[in-house]
Symmetry: C2
Subunit: 224 residues, 2 copies
């Protein structure tokens, strides 16, 4: 069991519940539903062509994931994210990403390091071209690689959970990746990992998230 994830991934793509769960999560994160919008079991079930049972089970999981809030005997509501929540998330992430970077210096595989280098290289290209869509995608992936390279399923799961919120916040604020500056920071983290410099990697990854938060605030979260 030592290789097993404590917080089990929901990967049961082939059960109805799994499909409902994935679909709802996607729809909530993509902003299809308004904040505080009520989700009715029958309506969701009909939309996806399933009964209430798998929908209810998916609801229970989405509740623990923090995406909806269930009021007993009343209903399920899409959760809002307050500005304080966003700040807390970024501050917590800053610590954990630092830890992930440190551990990556100890556990990263050659293949992962290669993908990281490629990621940084590609991001530089797309940054010059102004391809924001691809940049955001690469940014997400960069962090995912680092989570995986940390060699800790526990930490990986925690950070992926938080990343969900990051994606939501980005959609909400319409703020795309930060472009060149963010890339440079990625490159620095990557090099620190490559050189197996744990202290530096942790420091840079930590600061990287703080910078991302600063940028997010400037980009208008405070206004919107």
């Amino acid at each position: 069991m030592s290789e097993k994830d404590l917080k089990q991934e929901v990967t049961d793509k082939y059960s109805l519940r799994g499909r409902v769960f994935s679909r709802l999560r996607e729809d909530i994160l993509s902003g299809k539903y308004e904040e505080n919008e009520e989700l009715r079991e029958v309506a969701i079930g009909e939309e996806l062509g399933v009964s209430r049972t798998p929908v209810r089970e998916a609801f229970r999981q989405l509740e623990l994931e923090g995406l909806i809030r269930i009021v007993p005997n009343k209903g399920a509501y899409v959760t809002g994210i307050s500005e304080k929540d966003v700040k807390d998330i970024y501050m917590i992430r800053s610590r954990l990403e630092g830890l992930a970077a440190r551990w990556a210096t100890e556990h990263i595989t050659d293949a992962q390091l290669e993908e990281m280098e490629e990621n940084v290289y590609l991001a530089k290209f797309h940054s010059e071209k102004g391809h924001y869509e691809q940049l955001a995608e690469l940014d997400n992936r960069f962090h995912e690689i680092m989570y995986e390279a940390s060699g800790s399923k526990m930490l990986e799961h925690q950070l992926k959970d938080f990343h969900q919120y990051v994606i939501r916040v980005r959609k909400k604020t319409l703020s795309s990746a930060r472009g060149p500056k963010s890339n440079l920071e990625h490159e620095g983290i990557m090099l620190a990992i490559k050189n197996r410099d744990g202290d530096l990697a942790e420091k840079l990854a930590h600061e990287h998230i703080l910078n991302a938060y600063e940028n997010l605030i400037k980009a208008g979260l405070a206004n919107g």
Copy 2:
């Protein structure tokens, strides 16, 4: 919504599902079930006098909490905690407890600070008397106060989640609180918070968890 918790607590004590969830969690944490023991829906349901439906919903939540692992079409199994998991948990906690301590210097209320002082004082008493049961209880409570005093529902929830594992590990290793040394560290953290010294509070709380881990290892996790 700004005061609402993103990761919703499961406080629905009055629904059958809520009761099943709480009961199973308690039983798993208390070690009633062996690692990898299979939990059957009907059996659990009969034991608690409910049908499979609330049991299944509770299972889905316990899965996300990391206490059980559900294999599609097969069954639910109590998750094991590997030595690496324990190490990861403590390392992650060390960062987050540090953050909680720092934030507590900013947000702690007078009542919370008072309870913290009382906690330290009482612990000193029970430590001298060798009351290990009460010491463990006070230790748990000390950390909980700090989580609450952090003023961050996000962080509080994260840390309480991890604390579940800590309690499990303690049961498993039969290692009680560390006694006087741990108390002194608590006192140090408390004073740093009282003096509103964020840097010191974070540093001490961080080290406190690292020390607790060292102690745990010595206490025999490596052997058991």
